[in-house]
């Protein structure tokens, strides 16, 4: 250790401080067609998308590099956050395009954070993509145990240990390779390591691809509640290779669908209707259906995050079903239920409560239950969740403000919701008693 430190210092003068140069996008996507959104998109997002796709066509010359291979990027969604804006690339086989990833790497050192399940499947491929024709970059990796129950401070410390032992500096890049747990932990570690280094999200589960990898929410769990410790910290890019879904267990796929359903319910009725018609295709992993569901989900999320990055209001609506769902995850022990499974049951409870308040028609409640049931997701909480357990855990939810528990509830026609603390608590009590044995 001392010897390598010594040689490192010895190199102080001769070393160049230059980072690998940021590369221009090269080549036009082979299939740059973006399916027409089935609802009216935010015009700024459309403009931004148009700009990006235009720039991809224009900036096709990179003199020092090989002519472009045919790009498989089918869609790019921009998250518009001023100087923290970044692209989400969505398509099949994107990990076979080293250039796409490399243009977002800062510095010469990369730390890939992944887990014991994903590492055997994709770590080698990602390491190749980072270093192919790019000898200046060296890649370290840290392989964490897999599962929500390891989303804690002790596990995250292993990332810091590895980064520090590897002598990574401020010009390094962290890469999150895995599902939501890996993305959240790696993102928070990147936010806190040396007070902030760059990071890239490569989500490999549908849950992470449609939700958690986008928008910069990072964090870990506390034994008393989900995601209570963390940071808002945006990645350099999100790279979604839909081929990674081929190795995803059915139960994990369904978990991600719970979040897809959420976007329809809170703000995108046509997308909900599309899901009702295409759920079989999604469950059968029909590629074009998956890409469309991911794209439309990311567009919805990007629109919301661009308007309310730090969740002062609007962004909270993305947590439909999550207050009940987080209580289930905390109450049953992290990992017993997948996040999306808990969210599905929570969404049904939120719809039930909204109906009791007279805020939505019976039909919306029914369609909510039906679509989640079709996706083979739970529509009731586990029997171990009592009314008191729900109340006790929900009281430490991040959406409590000055003692007032605020909830996301459906209100109005399909695709409409509110985030409010102004509701008759009797409805909440009735919902809890309707879904719990005691």
């Amino acid at each position: 250790m001392a010897a390598s430190a010594s040689s490192l210092l010895a190199a102080a003068v001769s070393s160049s401080c230059a980072a690998i140069s940021s590369r221009l996008p090269r080549g036009a996507p082979a299939a740059a067609s973006v399916p027409s959104p089935s609802r009216q998109s935010c015009s700024s997002l459309r403009a931004s998308l148009a700009r990006r796709q235009q720039s991809r066509f224009v900036a096709s010359v990179a003199p020092t590099m090989q002519p472009p291979a045919e790009s498989r990027v089918s869609t790019v969604v921009d998250v518009d956050l001023g100087d923290r804006s970044y692209p989400i690339y969505i398509g099949a086989g994107l990990l076979d395009e080293p250039d796409l990833l490399q243009r977002h790497v800062h510095g010469k050192r990369v730390l890939v954070v992944t887990n014991t399940t994903v590492a055997p499947l994709y770590l080698e491929k990602v390491s190749w993509a980072l270093t192919h024709n790019n000898p200046n970059v060296s890649v370290e990796s840290v392989i964490l145990p897999d599962g929500e129950k390891y989303k804690d401070m002790d596990t995250m410390m292993k990332v810091f240990d590895k980064a520090i032992e590897s002598r990574l500096d401020r010009r390094c890049t962290f890469v999150a390779l895995g599902g939501g747990v890996i993305g959240d932990m790696c993102g928070f570690a990147a936010a806190a390591f040396l007070r902030g280094v760059n990071f890239i999200q490569i989500p490999t589960t549908l849950m992470a691809q449609v939700d958690s990898s986008v928008g910069g929410k990072t964090g870990i769990n506390h034994p008393l509640g989900k995601n209570l410790i963390g940071a808002f910290y945006q990645p350099q890019c999100v790279l979604i290779d839909t081929d990674t879904l081929n190795t995803l267990p059915d139960r994990e796929l369904a978990s991600g669908i719970a979040e897809v359903v959420k976007y329809g319910l809170i703000r995108d009725a046509p997308f909900f209707e599309w899901q009702e018609q295409n759920m079989s295709a999604l469950l059968a992993r029909e590629p074009s259906a998956l890409v469309y569901a991911i794209k439309r989900s990311c567009e919805n999320k990007a629109e919301v995050v661009a308007q309310d990055e730090k969740e002062s209001g609007l962004r909270a609506t993305l947590n439909l079903g999550h207050t009940f769902g987080h209580a289930i995850e905390t109450g049953t022990g992290y990992g017993a239920w997948l996040h999306g499974e808990a969210v599905a049951a929570g969404t049904v409870m939120a719809a039930d409560m909204s109906h009791r308040l007279g805020w939505i028609d019976e039909s919306i409640k029914k369609r909510t239950v039906d679509i989640l049931a079709q996706a083979k997701l739970p529509i009731t909480p586990p029997e171990t969740m009592t009314v008191e357990k729900f109340k006790s855990i929900m009281a430490v939810d991040k959406k409590v403000a000055d003692g007032l528990l605020r909830l996301i509830l459906l209100k109005g026609p399909l695709g409409s919701c509110v985030f409010t603390g102004e509701y008759d608590r009797k409805a909440l009590d009735e919902t809890l008693h309707a879904f719990c044995n005691n």
Copy 2:
């Protein structure tokens, strides 16, 4: 726990969501005179100071409150960071003015983070200041063990535990009451709790008052290096009651003086000359000398931070002597030497290296050694620090970029420095060998 959660939820509808209203400053300070800076200040800072003092005179009417008592605020220094700007109040007896503190509290719940040394001295007073004539606010506290060796993740988790067990929500305020360790840990905890809550700094050591409480650097140590995990996170205000220095041990006072000397060396030659003439007064705790040294230090820091909040360049110059100093702290075990003691020895080493490079006159090196010696600070590292130990620890310093160790070195006339990786490493080797036995 379940019962209180239940009653909390029961209060959901009846509770008002309104926070305590932010109060206008009332009354002009009795002694608002700011001593003329002994060097030319940044004009924007002057303008900002002028605005604030003007606003303090203008906004003197607060109909629902008592007429103002005579304010003891002698100085207000603004940290100009756009929407994250905040004031530093400096004066004797400021903790006897509840209004000053209360106007910066957000929400109804406060968590005071302090340690076993400071709690018996000032926790009751601060709790009084937070709640006097302010029955809506409730105060919790967490008392951590005292010392740099406890500036770690395990200790910081106690802050999260307390906050979560107390069911604090996003509208709470964390108050750091103590020295640099408490300020750094409380600030990082505030940055990460629920992804960010408000916080206030009440520094009680000279070190924290002249340096660490200002500018938003927060964090904890890793066994392999100082402050490697943290966040840039700005407080709502910094309240410096110079009366708290009355209980500070001599060794702690001297430690703070090391940072005061730093400002003179890197950017404020007249301040350095003032220190040479007034060191006896500082060591004797002459109140006006202390207030002036604190004010001038905060002004220097505020100017630098306003120009480079995230340390992309200029701000790094505030770390003169710190790379050597951090190596001493890490190498000898956190807490064996006080931070300022390590920085003092590190500053002498930096001056020595600068002189070997031919960048400063012998006289500047001598004056550096003399002033630190006069403050009874160490001017050489401890004997246990070997050359290899220095090199090994310095290699993981945050200022390493792409493998290149950058240092802050003095260059030119008194009050000038550079932050650079371009130096002859022979000079570094010679300095290390001159100060270490092997």
